[in-house]
Amino acid sequence: MEAAYLAVMWGGLTLYLLLGGADFGAGIWDLVAGGPERGRRQRDLIARTIGPVWEANHVWLIFVIVLMWTGFPPVFAAVSSTLYIPLTLVALGIIGRGSAFVFRKASVQVEHQRLFGAVFALSSLLTPFFLGVSAGAVAGGRVPPGIAEGDLVTSWINPTALACGVLTVCVTAYLAAVYLTREAEREGEADLAAQFRRRALVSGVITGAVAIAALLVLRSDARALYDALLSGPGLVLVIVSVVAGVVSLLLLVLRRFLAVRLTAALAVAAMLWGWGAAQYPEMLPGLTAAEAAAHDAVLTASLGALGVGALLLVPSMIWMFRIFQRSDEPAQHG
């Protein structure tokens, strides 16, 4: 039971990374789009693309947090108490990103838009970094079970955690560039599409390089995880990730912008599931999923509720993405 529950939770985390992560990545591209005049069309494309969907995408994070405290309460307590510093920064980053984004949309004066834009872009960079750092702290085995049992500083300021933070930032920026290339093409903005294609290629290569570097960091800093990633199911997923990543670069070169969305997402998802597979069944050092899991009555009730909820959610979500992905001009109504 707890394996199925954990898989659902990990699925939620995957969707958060692929959807919510890309929204952060879009904010990172906003940061480097250049001055207000030069970067205006890029920023408009980014705002148009994430505007209608970022709140729904953001809910995946809440979903994962709630599933964690419901299904694996001791893990949630251990992680959030030991990592309270980076997680507080994540929380503040989430506030900064979301509110600055809507404030920018609601403002009319250019200097206000610039200020909010800067907060939006900067927090889009910092939030995934600290989320990645927190994940890296867990992956590196620096968060022991128990409340605030880990070191408040070295648990997350260490090579593995920092590498994971940088990798997360790269992944979100890469995904955003891939998605935005297709958005620009769909909207008929060929020059923007070319720009984001170039960025997707560059960030794709950088992400691959950082991933390899992170693996080397693990080798010296978190040997157990490194070994598990390079054997058994971990290795299979790493290979899937590498292949999908290389295929994505080829598809970008060939300008297959719709297909590359799938392969890029697959490369990232396989990386995340590789970590999960390598660490399973241990969630924290000396604490397995079965030991940490809530009672079956709780897991069953939550999964049942989610199953019923999915019947409402999935069609709604598909409808939402379809409405905002339609390439026709907005319909005219009098």
Binding site: E55, V59, I65, F76, S81, A91, H295, S302
Partner: protein, 457 residues
């Protein structure tokens, strides 16, 4: 280094300063979120009413109101959503002792809330960005799930808080939870009165809050149809709910009498148990005694049990260490009730003038009071939360877990509090500035046409 310094500190328990900081951080984050959550629950319905009236009558005034309200709703919803996310982090960052043990007991309503919030976020996206992409009737229909999901979210979240007041649906041995019935935990005895009280409050805050904006405009002489309707739609809803809320509040207090008597004793400053207990209006507790209060003989007994001989449990039935701080709870409760009755009087004036004259009141006193009603309603909600939260102390889970045992023992929590406070101060100022500029940057024309409606983006 810092870590060595931090590691050298004992982690058995948080210092009193850190415990207080954690409680204040939670209170600040919750208190801040609640106001936005109220608008998130109430504003979609009010906006939808205007939109439907606009579709039915074709009147551009209704349509413009709906469009402009939706824009504000977009900002409030987003800020409410992110400030709500912080709370889910803080549940673990600040209260790992609560979540590590009982997270599974209260997990189900949060999972359900997650689904409801998802639906809400999806349809808010469609609603806000879909005006030009969907036919008008379909667009109005996309508002319905927002209303339902908003109410459902409020319900689910408050059931978890109700559980903290009436922990049921689990059994424990040696500090470990051995069995859980998540549905029984969710539908605990406090759930019906508490969720009803909060959901009605949310619509009142949104209704009075939106009406306040137009009351200010009325005082400034803008009495055209746009401002009159902008006032009347939300105010009518809130005015209808105000008497309902007073009945619900009475129910909630009677519930305390039966199930959480110590909280009621703190609310009223009753130390000794007995019959014919008076109701205290005002007053302050000094040295374990209520002073300077106006006493209504047997008032509390009458309210709690419908007869003057009703036995009221006093604070002294529990050890002093288990008593909540009386003055805070008493003052907060009195403020909430006083505001509730003031809003009732205001609603009565509105209803009376409408009944006899079929128009809005003309006296500036009505508009001055109406201008304050929104802030008053929000203040009453805050006071209500202070009453229920502080009134439960020293317990975080009533009779089961003390707040001091739930807090994160890691040192330095207070720095997080300072940081979060600074962020919220800035955020509050900016939200107000942005909303004001938003409404002023596109003034409402004297003659509203369909072109004005289409121009809102």
């Amino acid at each position: 280094m810092i870590s060595a310094f931090l590691a050298g500190l004992p982690l058995e328990a948080a210092t009193p300063a850190d415990l207080l900081a954690a409680r204040q951080q939670m209170a600040l984050s919750l208190g801040w979120h609640i106001v936005f959550a109220c608008f998130g629950v109430g504003m979609p319905l009010i906006t939808l009413i205007a939109e439907v009236l606009g579709i039915r009558t074709g009147d551009p005034v209704y349509r413009l109101l709906a469009r402009r309200w939706a824009k504000v709703m977009g900002v409030l919803f987003a800020v409410g959503a992110v400030s709500g996310t912080i709370l889910s982090f803080e549940m673990g960052i600040l209260w790992p002792g609560l979540m590590g043990t009982y997270g599974q007991v209260i997990g189900l309503p949060f999972s359900l809330e997650g689904i409801a919030f998802f639906i809400e976020a999806i349809f808010v996206g469609i609603y806000l960005y879909g005006w030009d992409r969907l036919p008008p009737k379909v667009h109005a229909l996309t508002g319905v799930p927002i209303v339902i999901a908003g109410v459902a979210s409020a319900f689910f979240v408050v059931t978890a808080n109700a559980w903290m007041n009436q922990p049921t649906g689990f059994s424990e041995a040696d500090g470990r939870v051995i069995t859980v019935d998540p549905w029984a935990a969710m539908f605990n005895p406090a759930t019906p009165p508490q969720t009803t009280h909060m959901i009605v409050a949310a619509f009142m805050v949104a209704g009075f809050g939106m009406a306040s904006v137009y009351a200010v405009a009325m005082l400034r002489g803008r009495r055209d149809r746009y401002h009159r309707l902008g006032f009347t739609i939300p105010f009518t809803l809130a005015a209808i709910l105000t008497p309902v809320q007073i009945v619900v509040g009475d129910w909630a207090a009677k519930f305390l009498h039966e199930r959480q008597p110590i909280k009621l004793a703190a609310i009223e400053g009753v130390f000794e148990s007995g019959k014919h207990v008076p109701l205290h209006l005002g007053g302050i507790v000094i040295d374990g005694e209520m002073r300077y209060a106006i006493e209504i003989p047997s008032g509390l007994s009458l309210l709690a049990g419908n007869k003057p001989s009703t036995h009221i449990v006093g604070l002294n039935t529990v050890p002093e260490a288990d008593q909540p701080p009386v003055n805070i709870v008493h003052l907060a409760f009195q403020s909430m009730v006083a505001i509730g009755f003031a809003l009732l009087a205001l609603s009565a004036v509105f209803a009376f003038v409408w009944w006899r004259r079929r128009r809005l009141p003309e006296t500036p006193w009505f508009w001055r009071a109406a201008a304050l009603a929104g802030a008053g309603a929000a203040f009453a909600v805050e006071a209500g939360w202070v009453t229920t939260e502080v009134g439960r102390q020293p317990w975080v889970v009533y009779g089961v877990l003390r707040t001091a045992d739930a807090v994160n023992p890691a040192p330095g929590l207070r720095w997080g509090f300072y940081l979060v406070t600074a962020v919220y101060v800035v955020l509050t100022v900016i939200t107000i500035v942005v909303l004001r500029r938003m409404t002023r940057s596109t003034p409402v024309p004297d003659e509203i046409t369909n072109a004005d409606v289409e121009a809102v983006h």
